[in-house]
Amino acid sequence: MNSPLRVVILGGGTSGWMCAAALSSALKLGQKDSLLEVRLVESAEIGTVGVGEATLPQIKEFNDYLGINEAEFMRRTKATFKLGIEFRDWGKLGNIYHHPFGAFGMPMAGVEFQHHWTRAHAMGKAAPLEAYSYAIQAARRQKFDFPSEDRQSIKSTYSYAYHFDAGLYAAFLREFSEARGLLRTEGRVKNVTLHSDSGDIRSLVLESGEEIEGDLFIDCSGFRGLLIEEQLMAGWDDWSKWLPCDRALAAPTERTADFHSYTRSTALSAGWQWRIPLQHRAGNGYCYSSAFVSDDEAHRTLLENLDGAPLAEPKRLRFQAGRRKKSWYHNCLTIGLSSGFLEPLESTSIYLVQIAVTTFLQLLPSGNVIDPKLAAEFNRLIDREYQRVRDFLILHYYANTRTDSALWEYVRHMSVPDSLNETIEQYRHRGRVPNYKDGLFSPPSWLAVLNGQDITAAGYDRMADNMDEATLVEKLETMRGRIEASVNAMPDHADFVADYCFVPPSKAALMEGAAK
């Protein structure tokens, strides 16, 4: 066997620690037959972004892969449950719709549900589409329970994710990784040395003078891409013409009675505002385009819109939507914001970290000589992921009829990627939604946003007409009734969290609260 591959992870935010945890879990670090020597270099002085507090259901697979106990993880990260995202004022003012983590109805007679629904709706005999989504009905009532494993049950038609404190998640994964032999080095990078022949990275030189050599470097240094861009100049694809938001202000508020089992996104005149309930506070932020609003005005808007007392001065973030041209270039692989930035509108940041980590694990180099084919395949797979998410996000902006501000006028008239145009045309024409083999998002997600933003299907799959009208109406009503009855019997989200994983406030915090 070759000598172990020396991997250096630069950066200890969510990306760095998710990567470290996966490598620690899979690879018996520190044992004599280990495949890798992994070191993570981070500086406590450098802040992490930590806005990625809302996740997608795939995060559960990641935690399960690590073997993490869910209740413990939720206690440690002050997490709550998430059944989807509520979109307010997207598409048009006054509009409210949900993107659920789950299906709309169930297929009938071999035909996807939305075709039956479109047919019944045209006859005036269907409730709104969301009445047939278990996840939306539960979310609307601020309920939560685990899905059923019985595939026949209507209660198996949804999944869930979490809201959590990303800083606490990184700390939790750090503890997990260090317990499994991961070496962490505190320090700032002063200098990077390259191999003169190949141009590959040879070592990181820290301010302390320590030099850390490696065979493979994982750049988790955030937006700036300290290795991939500042050293290797891999290049950047700018997507801001489609996704013009380039700033965010993030501010936590006290927990209030509004304890929803979903993420809330409210479209504003120059961007959108999020609200993410955690056990101990709510995360809020305004993601906006500096071309359409000043920083001061954005700051004012956010503070005016908060529904609870802010616990800190808003944190300012700057970014540009886009993507590193090569995610893995030379002997440097990027994970997280160094690889690309897509605004957190669909909670994809942590998913994109996860998919990069798991793809890397499948392409882990064998020994310390790295086959360039591995990088090619990594880039092919990761490129597709980013493009899929990109199209999906653009749809949220493009499909609008808002005339109240310049941003919405701009995005309604912009020219969008062909792939997205085709998706919209197919849906308008016959209710078809994309159904591809790899990558986010699945058909119900597309359906939720297309339908939710008032793009209507003029037609439906002809096979739906095989069912006679009376049967169709009866089946829809039965389905709606079953969902309603089952949802009504679910516990409230707040009660469920309290029972399952609530962290009682510490005595000190109670005293502090009393002193106010």
Binding site: M1, L27, D33, Q362, L363, R462, M463
Partner: protein, 507 residues
């Protein structure tokens, strides 16, 4: 879009013959008959001969089920037999034949897939072929057959397909379609009348008769009378990758013990395909006339097959390739009218089935079907090209030295999509899969490993399992496969009991 024609499609006319026409008729009437759609077959004289056989890929059985066919009844009617995969012989001078099973190899060890363990063991000198770890291959090679059951889930994915005589299959399909209300009208020579406005096919004109319809399915075979000749959709030849331009078909005697697999044997300038059914063996020799005369092809067939042949040999031309669009205007070509495949890998019926599945999925809502056509053409192009890549690999990866026919193929340029798959397999023992793949990862691994490609490296996660544990696991798999196969009935006994015997007939 301008000039949207909002008329609903009320009548589909299927023009053509044989399997393409009648499988289309069944699919359309079954999927859409309940919506008031009228399906009419304008039937051209059949071209199938008594000696023609067909081989399916595993998904056809499921399609048959959706069409409401009883599998046992179909196999009874067509002298049908089962197949668990394909055996490929002679593609590498001295090497033993290899088997492409319709199922997976080995099982994961400590959450790591089997393949890297096998590569590691081969690199360390293990001399056990990948196929030895497949229950499907082991059963087939020992003359057994089984239908997968839930208890076998530890063996991974398991599947099977069928062989049958072509003519009785068409009779079966025709009877089924007509019993469901498909109308048939015989047709010989005809002209196409096109709509002066949109260029769509308005009617088929035959003497004083006209056959009108909203949608026309071209099931006329490689001639592509509607799409190709009528609407001038160009043919893209793949002859640079597929060397055979002649197919000799002849029937041989029944094999004494009926194999549950088909065979492909590489000959000096072509391939011989053996498709066993219950009462005979279908033989197809694919060759190139520049290297071999028809007479020599027949002699080679007799010699290599080692079977008594019937005096029914016929030769037909073959050009592998596809029409650049499968759907143009109101005409959709299915089966060979959309593209002709080399017989290797038995994908012909599959591409017909895929064309029909996508047609039903995208069945036009109105007479204006431009959006459906665009989507359909993308999908069918991908489907054809993924099959093409899989088939091309057999020729590209041959190791038959000093035969000009094979030497040229080894040196040929191949499509980038295939080249990338081969490179990644060589680098790592993994296969990237694209959208619309017909053959899944297990199939590609069997193909590449079977042709002797050996990856340079493997997923190092396999190194985390101590070698002794992996060896024990290997021995365990081989032992369980041996025991499981021993308990299986022979293919002959299985057929006797389930299909052809007196007991089966009464069920």
């Amino acid at each position: 879009m301008t000039g949207l024609d909002m008329r609903q499609v009320r009548k589909v006319v299927i023009v053509g013959r044989d399997v393409a026409a009648w499988l289309s008729a069944n699919a359309l009437i079954r999927a859409l008959g309940g919506t008031g759609l009228k399906v009419e077959v304008a039937e051209l004289p059949g071209l199938l001969r008594a000696q023609d056989t067909l081989a399916s890929l595993p998904t056809l059985e499921n399609f048959h089920r959706l069409l409401g066919f009883d599998e046992a009844a179909l196999l009874r009617a067509t002298e049908g037999a089962y197949t668990l995969g394909q055996s490929f012989a002679g593609f590498s001078g001295a090497a033993a034949p290899f088997f492409h099973p319709y199922g997976s190899h080995g099982g994961a060890i400590n959450r790591v897939p089997f393949m890297p363990f096998w590569i590691k063991a081969r690199q360390a000198g293990l001399n056990v072929a990948l196929e030895e770890f497949s229950l499907t291959a082991a059963a087939a090679k020992q003359g057994r057959f089984f239908l997968p059951t839930d208890e076998m889930s530890a063996f991974g994915h398991l599947d099977y397909a069928c062989h049958f005589r072509a003519r009785p299959y068409v009779q079966f399909l025709k009877a089924q379609a007509m019993s469901r209300g498909v109308e048939v009208r015989p047709l010989r020579l005809f002209d196409i009348r096109r709509d002066a406005g949109n260029g769509h096919i308005a009617a088929l004109v035959s003497g004083a008769h006209e056959i009108t319809g909203d949608l026309f399915i071209d099931a006329t075979g490689a001639e592509s009378l509607l799409l190709g000749q009528g609407l001038n959709v160009e043919f893209e030849s793949w002859s640079q990758w597929f060397p055979g331009n002649r197919v000799l078909t002849v029937s041989g005697e029944r094999l004494r013990r009926l194999p549950a697999y088909s065979q492909v044997r590489a000959l000096p300038s072509g391939c011989l395909h053996l498709t066993p059914v219950r009462d005979m063996t279908g033989l197809q020799h694919v060759y190139n006339e520049a290297y071999m005369s028809d007479q020599a092809a027949l002699e080679a067939t007799a010699l290599v097959a080692g079977l008594r042949l019937q005096p029914d040999a016929v030769v037909s031309p073959l050009t592998a390739g596809r029409r650049r669009q499968a759907w143009a205007g109101n005409c959709i070509a299915v089966g060979e009218a959309a593209g002709s495949l080399d017989p290797i890998d038995n994908a012909g019926l599959h591409v017909l089935q895929t064309g029909l599945v996508h047609l039903i999925d995208l069945f036009p809502l109105t007479a204006d079907s431009r959006l459906e056509a665009r989507d359909y053409n993308v999908r069918m192009q991908q489907c054809f090209e993924r099959i093409r890549d899989y088939q091309t690999a057999h020729y590209k990866l041959n190791r038959i030295d000093n035969e000009p026919f094979w030497d040229r193929l080894r040196a040929m340029d191949i499509p980038d999509t295939l080249a990338y798959k081969i490179e990644l397999f060589r680098a790592r023992g993994m296969v990237p899969l694209y959208e619309e793949e017909v053959f899944v990862a297990d199939d590609w691994l069997a193909l590449f490993a079977g042709h002797g490609l050996m990856p340079r490296s493997y997923d190092p996660m396999a190194d985390l399992t101590p070698d002794e544990d992996a060896i024990r696991h290997f021995q365990n798999i081989l032992g369980v496969i041996r025991q499981t196969v021993e308990k299986m009935r022979t293919h002959d006994a299985f057929i006797e009991r389930e299909i052809s015997g007196n007991l089966a007939k009464t069920v």
